[in-house]
Point group: C2
Chain length 325, copies 2
């Protein structure tokens, strides 16, 4: 059994995914769909995909497709993932899986009702460097984890025409890149939250162009997360324990992880040229072959928690999208 | 005119100060006072200081002393700095200058009444690497400064007998090392605050053994500060602007500063072997020679602001010292 994929959306992220999929040998991409036939054709040509649709609705009716990678902007995820699920397709949905946790609940219920595989494309959780970092933590190499400090920021085009600056497309640093820092905190601490504190600056277009978030977990773990579209940040996650620390440069697409304690210095380097989307795609194929409807690495409960944190941050900073009003 | 110093207290910080003072050529240390004559003698011997007192009261009555460096634990600063001022001595007082801003107001008023020089020993503000960083900022090298991320932490002895873990001696990470991160934010942004958010973990002895603080300034600047006595942190300050960043390793005793922008990479390295207390001591001597009663680099208004931030953080995290109740 080879898993057959459809890609819904033919933008930047879809391209990166298809590029990395070239090394995924336990499944294949059968189709791509874009609202524009031209764009769809070009995408199919570039990645040697047999079928190119100009309609999402048509693609999801293709009985040969097992799972759809939803790669449209976040505010369309609910609509597009629902379309897939309602047509009997499993779904790997780009992050954030939905704009808020209320939307997520609808999708989660639908997936359960249809008994279909559903997962957020939180590819970070599948990266070998991240898995190595988590393994060091589990082995007690840095003692008890106490604090996490994360930064992720780059100078983006803040013109309203751009998705990231457009509130109508659920733009802003929190939903687009802040989620990665929150996801790292949630991976490391994986327990109930005691407190969320946040502050943000708003762009002229009405989205958070940079923000600062800190989280406190019940057992005392704390995370500080800085996100920005106006500054190039260090783009590093540092996990501090009582016996040492782990540094993960470019943590959201981690290729490296460094363990630094008084006793030892270890480094993990993944030399594969791929960005890293291949790891999650490979995992999804395996899960589908096993008949799973959920991933234990990116479980739905984790996606829901991350969305709920982002809901609360947005409530605190006063970020409501026009389509939510 | 050579400025003549008395050192009040003969502990660790007093030693570091006296050690660095060896290269300060515009003043001299005339006396040291400790509650123990033995300790005082040893200190005087080690640093070739002419007079060794076993009484603070006696030392401050010595007419040959112009200025006293108050180097006792913070909870004694009010008492000891008052003693100096009341005896006509100028004061350089170790940081935090007092435990809270109410105490500070008493000292500030006393210094003004006596028309005497009074300054918090915020030596960081005088370090050449910090001055270089501020100069880069002023020259617009990193564009508009938007965010600051700071960490300062080391694994300390959290036994109650130790000052840092002892609430009776105003222990805790905030007052002892958190102040350095706040001071950097206050140096960089130097404007009105809009919001302070903080969270802390408490040790068995009732002090904050680690904490996370974030600040938001009126014009949108944000700072995230992590402090810890239970983890060795990266101990770095990173200042992010729209055009690049400045990294300052070991920022509270900075010897280096790195400028990183798309156009240029610059590094500043101070190769002097001293810790860096010499810079503030030299500056105080010059100020006293000029008849100044305040430093424009560490003005009293800045010390008061930093204390007021720490007051608010303590209010938020619920840290009250026994002697404050």
């Amino acid at each position: 059994m080879s898993i057959s994929w459809g890609i819904l959306g033919a933008g930047k992220i879809a391209k990166k995914f298809a590029e990395d999929f070239k090394v995924v040998d336990n499944g294949k991409i059968t189709a791509v769909a874009s609202r524009s036939q031209d764009r769809s054709n070009k995408f199919a040509d570039e990645f040697k995909i047999p079928e190119a649709y100009s309609s999402y609705e048509e693609m999801v009716k293709n009985p040969d497709i097992d799972v759809v990678y939803v790669a449209t902007p976040h505010n369309f995820h609910l609509e597009h993932a629902s379309l897939c699920l309602n047509n009997g397709k499993s779904v790997l949905c780009e992050k954030p899986v939905t704009v808020n946790s209320a939307e997520f609940e609808l999708l989660q219920n639908l997936a359960k009702e249809k008994n279909l595989f559903f997962m957020e494309a939180l590819w970070t959780y599948y990266l070998p460097a991240i898995l190595q970092a988590m393994d060091w933590i589990k082995k007690g190499k840095i003692g008890d984890v106490k604090q996490v400090q994360v930064s992720f920021g780059y100078t983006g085009d803040m013109d309203k025409k751009m998705r990231l600056a457009n509130p109508d497309l659920a733009g802003g640093a929190l939903l687009d890149i802040g989620i990665y820092g929150i996801a790292i905190a949630e991976l490391v601490f994986d327990e109930e939250l005691e407190e969320i504190q946040s502050m943000a600056h708003f762009s002229d277009t009405g989205i958070d162009d940079y923000n600062s978030i800190q989280l406190k977990y019940k057992s005392g773990g704390m995370a500080q997360i800085s996100s920005s579209f106006v500054s190039e940040l260090k783009n590093e996650a540092v996990i501090y324990g009582t016996k040492g620390r782990i540094e993960i440069p470019q943590f959201w697409m981690a290729k490296k992880a460094f363990l630094i304690t008084t006793d030892e210095k270890l480094e993990f380097i993944n030399k594969m040229p791929q960005m890293g989307y291949n790891h999650e795609a490979f995992a999804v194929n395996e899960l589908l072959k096993q008949g799973a409807i959920e991933s234990s690495v990116v479980p739905l409960v984790k996606s829901k928690r991350i969305l709920s944190i982002m809901d609360q941050v947005r409530e605190q900073i006063g970020l409501k999208y026009p389509f939510e009003k």
